[in-house]
Symmetry: C2
Amino acid sequence: MHTLLILSRHADAYRRLIEEAALAGLEIVGAAAAGRVDIVFGEPSLIRDALAELPALRWVQSTWAGVEPLLDPALRRDYVLTNARGVFGGLMSEYVFGYVLAYERRIFEKYAAQQARRWDPSPPGTLRGKQIGLLGVGSIGAALARTAKHFGMRVKGYTRASESCADVDRYFHGDTVAAFAADLDYLVSVMPNTPATRHLVDATLLGALPARAVFVNPGRGTTVDEDALAEALQAGRLAGAVLDVFQQEPLPPDHVFWRTPNVLITSHTAALSVPADIAPVFVENYRRFIAGELLHYRVDFEAGY
Amino acid sequence: MHTLLILSRHADAYRRLIEEAALAGLEIVGAAAAGRVDIVFGEPSLIRDALAELPALRWVQSTWAGVEPLLDPALRRDYVLTNARGVFGGLMSEYVFGYVLAYERRIFEKYAAQQARRWDPSPPGTLRGKQIGLLGVGSIGAALARTAKHFGMRVKGYTRASESCADVDRYFHGDTVAAFAADLDYLVSVMPNTPATRHLVDATLLGALPARAVFVNPGRGTTVDEDALAEALQAGRLAGAVLDVFQQEPLPPDHVFWRTPNVLITSHTAALSVPADIAPVFVENYRRFIAGELLHYRVDFEAGY
């Protein structure tokens, strides 16, 4: 018999979805039974606060991709941590290409013309033939590459070592960031938050982009040197930025981005965890757990993803 | 020897592209040599005015999909008319899904929150699982269906008879317009302008749509009963409309659409003819012309497409 505690703002939806899956040997309990809980499913920020009161804990399944709250070296690491992966590609594609198309099609300018009751026959741009660069080509990057190809774009990918996505035309690794950035129309970061990705998007990388380029960040705020980005935008050395994530969230009221030109801010909503998408990740991993198999999407506490 | 007259605002670009193709037995001439011109390539509105002065005319290749200016029964029809097809699918997809994603992702609302320096964590929508209905499934409709499937949508198609596109889940014909419209999240019209499609989008069809639906029209203005559309939007029986084409263009300054809520107006720019795309249509048809083969995309003057 296994005992599951669900710690999520969507706990009711998750409980219903897991009950519908009728999993063998699983009891769902409340916090009062914390002493015998061996499995926790939920949001890392809520789980963090409960870690000290779960003596029987063996496995945590995060509903999020990002598990930063659980990576603090001061916290226990005597359990298996798995995160949510492989489910955000579709939403991320809708986010990135929604904004990229808004930019190409000049949706805001067209709307401004309309508000002035002005017939505006100025031609919009097209994605076809444009070049997109993906910082990170995991399951999300691969989904973005596939959508980019659907729209006839050229695709560059920057990864630590992997070159497994066939929709990427050219791969870059290591200290070739400037060659990666050259001639990009769009730069998209979907890097996880790790020591190696901290401030990867810095003045050097931004300086290697063409002035026409637009930066889109639905990944992690920590990958960006925010001062360098604001400076590049203010100086017109970068055409625009679409930012979903920030070093501090909510973005503080006095942050420079609120008054930086050509920035669009989307308040960490690019790919929200939807219970109907995430519950199946838990269900599949539970089946593996009771079968004694390796779990999917296990997080390395040291590497950070 | 054949004699070509180019009548287009982009005549220089077309001349250069055709010269690069080095077509056998083709001389490109100016209007002064109209008397011996047997082929005209260009914009229907310009060609219309020249028709009377082209005694040797045998073939007209339009740079546009729409050839209305040449369909007036008072004009001569003693030549082969071909239009541009098969080249607008990509741009139309960018237009339709640019606006559909802007709507799902609440891009305008998010921007309004940003202008108020407000962190707005409200969740956006998603295309996945939503249903799109295509009025017309020719080459453009097929491209839209493919993009819809890429984003996980369900696809209905309304056609005269054809059911050839595998990306359409369910087909409708004839007087089943209400069944076609039921439960659509998005309705897109890519119908040509013919007597049979006039006011196809009328109060009946609009009344059969759910109130949450958004209508997108990058096709032809004549297919829409504009008064019925404005009424449905004003009454909140339709969530929105994205309109590229109108019965009168430019849209008159006093037209009701300028002051109708939830309308986006894009001034007939959804899929502009780009010389690099259209010239190859002429080049391929010229090869067929001199070989005595049937030309691609021949227009039936009676049917109107």
